[in-house]
C-alpha cells in the first residue's frame, strides 16, 4: 500500500557509485597498452618452446608488465562481473554471495598469477 513516490524513492540515494565507475575506466585505460603488448608478445612467441618462454618471462620489463597486466585485468574483470550480477540478480540471497565471491576470486586470481610470474622470474 505504498505510494508510487515512496516506492520510487526506495531507500534513498546511496551517494556512491562513482568510485566503481571511475576505477572501471582507469583500469580500462591501463589495459589498452598492456593487453596490446601481451597480444603482440603472444604472437611473437608462437611455436616457441618452454625454455624460450621462461627466458622471455624472466626479462625484468616483461615480469613487471605481466604483474601490472594481472592486477589491472583482475580488477577490471571483477568490477565488470559485479555489474553483470547486479543487473540480473535481484534477490539479496543471490546477489550478495555472488558479489562477495567474485571479489574474493578476482583477488585470489591476481595473487596466484603474480606468484607464478615472480616464481618464474626469480627461480633457477
Amino acid at each position: 500500500m505504498r505510494s508510487p513516490l515512496s516506492r520510487a524513492r526506495g531507500l534513498g540515494s546511496s551517494r556512491d557509485g562513482f568510485q566503481h565507475w571511475w576505477m572501471q575506466r582507469v583500469t580500462a585505460v591501463a589495459l589498452i597498452p598492456l593487453t596490446l603488448w601481451f597480444a603482440a608478445s603472444l604472437i611473437a612467441l608462437t611455436g616457441s618452446d618452454y625454455n624460450t618462454f621462461i627466458a622471455w618471462l624472466k626479462a625484468p620489463v616483461v615480469t613487471v608488465f605481466m604483474v601490472l597486466l594481472l592486477i589491472a585485468l583482475c580488477h577490471h574483470m571483477g568490477l565488470g562481473l559485479r555489474v553483470v550480477v547486479e543487473d540480473y540478480a535481484h534477490s539479496d540471497w543471490a546477489k550478495v554471495p555472488a558479489v562477495v565471491a567474485i571479489r574474493c576470486a578476482c583477488f585470489a586470481l591476481a595473487v596466484v598469477g603474480t606468484f607464478a610470474t615472480l616464481r618464474i622470474a626469480f627461480d633457477r
Binding site: P4, R7, S13, D87
Partner: protein, 279 residues
C-alpha cells in the same frame, strides 16, 4: 545500415525481434495467445493487416494478438489513424491513449514493428506487412495498448523537476542570458512519452531502481538551468549505483526518441559533472 536520425527506419529487416521464443521467460498471466482475425470487407482495395496486442482485464483471460485488416482508403496516413478507424468501424473495444494527433503530447507512444514511437507520427506506409503493435515494453498493462505509467511518473517526481532556489524571488523574472537559455535546447522539448525508458534493457531489468533515460534527461535539464541553485543536491540524489549508474550506454534511447532528443548524451554529461565535482 548507417542511421543518421532517429526518425530513419531500420534498413535491415532480417531480424524483427530478438531470436528468443515468443513467450520466453514470461509469467503465466503475461503469456500472449493467438486471438481472432477481423477480415476486411470484400470490396476493399488497399488492404493492410495490423497485429495488435489485446488485453481485457474484465475477461480474466490472457493477452492475445488480434489481426485487423484495414482498408487504407478509409483512414488517414498515420498508424494512429488506422487505430481510430479500427475503433470506429471494426472493433470499438480497442483501447489506446491519444490526444494531439501531431506528435507533441506523448500520449500515443507504443511499440510499432519492434521499436517505440508515437503512433500519430508513424506513417502506415513505413510499417511492415503485417504491422505489429504492442504497448510500451515491460510495463503493467491496464488494457490493450494502455500501460501503467504510474511508476515512471513517480520516478519523474523523485528528481524534483522544478526550479529550486534559495535566493529570494526578484521583483520581475529571474534573468537568464540567451546563451544559458540555449543550453536547454535539446532537453526541454521532451514530451515524456517514455519511448526511451521503455526501450532501455537496463530499465527492463532494474526499472524499480534505475531512473531511466527520460527522467535522467529531465534531471540534466534542471542541472544545467542557470537559474537553478540546487545542482549539488540534485547530483547527490542522482549519484547512486542504481539510479544513475545502471546506464551502460546501450543507447537504445537515442535511437528511438520520436522527438530526436539525445538522452544518452545527457546521461553521459551528468556522469561528467560528477567527475568534475570530485576533481
Amino acid at each position: 545500415m548507417f542511421i543518421r536520425s532517429s526518425d530513419q527506419l531500420p534498413s535491415v529487416t532480417v531480424l524483427r525481434r530478438f531470436p528468443v521464443p515468443r513467450n520466453f521467460n514470461v509469467s503465466t498471466e503475461s503469456r500472449i495467445e493467438r486471438g481472432k482475425t477481423w477480415h476486411a470487407p470484400a470490396d476493399a482495395t488497399r488492404v493492410k493487416s495490423f497485429e495488435i496486442y489485446r488485453y481485457d482485464p474484465d475477461s480474466g483471460q490472457n493477452p492475445r494478438i488480434d489481426t485487423y485488416e484495414v482498408d487504407l482508403n478509409t483512414c488517414g496516413p498515420m498508424v494512429l489513424d488506422a487505430l481510430i478507424a479500427i475503433k470506429n468501424e471494426i472493433d470499438p473495444t480497442l483501447t489506446f491513449r491519444r490526444s494531439c494527433r501531431e506528435g507533441v503530447c506523448g500520449s500515443c507512444s507504443m511499440n510499432i514493428d519492434g521499436t517505440n514511437w508515437l503512433a500519430c507520427t508513424r506513417f502506415i506506409s513505413d510499417t511492415m506487412e503485417p504491422a505489429t503493435i504492442y504497448p510500451l515494453n515491460h510495463l503493467r498493462v491496464i488494457k490493450d495498448l494502455v500501460p501503467d505509467l504510474t511508476q515512471l511518473f513517480a520516478q519523474y517526481g523523485l528528481i524534483e523537476p522544478w526550479l529550486q532556489t534559495t535566493t529570494p524571488e526578484p521583483e520581475k523574472e529571474r534573468l537568464q542570458s540567451p546563451e544559458d537559455r540555449g543550453k536547454l535546447d535539446g532537453f526541454y522539448e521532451c514530451i515524456l512519452c517514455f519511448c526511451c525508458t521503455s526501450g532501455c534493457p537496463s530499465h527492463w531489468w532494474n526499472g524499480d531502481r534505475f531512473l531511466g533515460p527520460a527522467v535522467l534527461l529531465q534531471s540534466y535539464r534542471w542541472l544545467i538551468d542557470s537559474r537553478d541553485e540546487a545542482a549539488g543536491d540534485r547530483l547527490d540524489d542522482l549519484e547512486d549505483p542504481f539510479r544513475l549508474y545502471r546506464c551502460h550506454t546501450i543507447l537504445n534511447c537515442t535511437r528511438t526518441c520520436p522527438k530526436q532528443l539525445n538522452p544518452g548524451k545527457a546521461i553521459a554529461a551528468i556522469k561528467k559533472m560528477i567527475v568534475q565535482r570530485r576533481s
